[in-house]
């Protein structure tokens, strides 16, 4: 069964704020081998003009993958079979980098669903903003649900 086109344009309720921890940024930076001081050292980050230690460019995935998975991929009405899903495309558009101390809310939307060659393609968009409504980053992921055998 192809994915239901009527989900295109559907937005889910804003998530509870994700509080970005200094140690989480340090852990993520270490895991990807990013050694620049602004990811680890508060004084170095402040000297470069950041409010706190700054997150590497792909860090937003920590919030958006978890929240879009919980809201969209696991939406029983949409009925995605995650065992057949692979990650197709990923895109980030930044208003500013994430820094430790940010309290970030995600609004997840199903932006596009297409079917081609028996496979389903779904693009999700996550608008990541502060609690005060300042847009920080927009994140798109295209998931491919491979056709059933």
């Amino acid at each position: 069964m192809p994915l239901d086109q009527s989900f295109v344009g559907r937005s889910y309720p804003p998530t509870e704020p994700y509080i970005v921890g200094r140690e989480k940024i340090r852990e993520f930076a270490r895991a990807i081998g990013a050694a620049e001081a602004e990811y680890q050292d508060l004084e170095a980050a402040r000297a470069l003009g950041y409010a706190d230690v700054v997150a590497p460019p792909t860090f937003p995935i920590v919030l958006t993958m978890a929240s879009s998975h919980a809201q969209i991929v696991e939406d029983p009405e949409l009925g995605i079979d995650y065992s057949r899903v692979v990650h197709g495309d990923q895109r980030f558009a930044y208003a500013r980098p994430i820094v430790a101390g940010d309290a970030l809310v995600c609004v997840n939307t199903v932006e596009e669903i297409t079917t081609r060659g028996g496979h389903d393609f779904m693009t999700t968009r996550s608008d990541v903003s502060t609690e005060a409504g300042e847009l920080v980053v927009t994140v798109w992921a295209k998931l491919v649900q491979r056709g059933e055998e």
Binding site: I32, G33, Y50, P56, S83, V86, H87, Y94
Partner: protein, 129 residues
């Protein structure tokens, strides 16, 4: 035209560390048994780990993480990571492609593993350094 190439070594330990840091515990990234049962050649790297390595090359080129305006990739081929001390290597290159209407620099990015491209349509837009 500037072209900068960087080689990143990727081992199973890196994938375990990335799984913990990112919260992506899909077993295709740590269980050989599970990965082969779903038709993969073996444990493969998280696509987002490969993208993070390319992101390191982009921020290094741009000079700062806040210089990155846009960053996008398509995952075109998996990166198998054997259970050896050496693991595998991902080779990343960054080339200037032009300028956007806003005056930012457009970068074309490539990532290869074992001589094959693992990303397509990979690009970034960065503020001028």
């Amino acid at each position: 035209m500037s072209l900068e190439t960087q080689t990143f070594r990727v081992t199973r330990a890196d994938l375990v560390r990335y799984a913990g840091a990112s919260g992506d515990f899909n077993p295709i990234h740590w269980s050989e048994r599970f990965a082969t049962s779903v038709g993969l050649p073996g444990v493969i790297a998280h696509g987002m780990f490969t993208m993070a390595l390319v992101g390191r090359a982009v921020t290094a080129w741009a000079g700062a993480p806040d210089a990155v305006v846009e960053f996008s990739v398509r995952f075109s081929r998996p990166v198998p990571v054997p259970d050896t001390d050496e693991g595998t290597e991902v080779v990343v290159s960054v080339a200037v492609k032009g300028e956007t209407e806003e005056g930012h620099t457009k970068l074309t990015l490539t990532a290869t593993c074992q001589g094959e491209k693992v990303l397509s349509m990979a690009q970034a837009v960065v503020r001028k350094r």
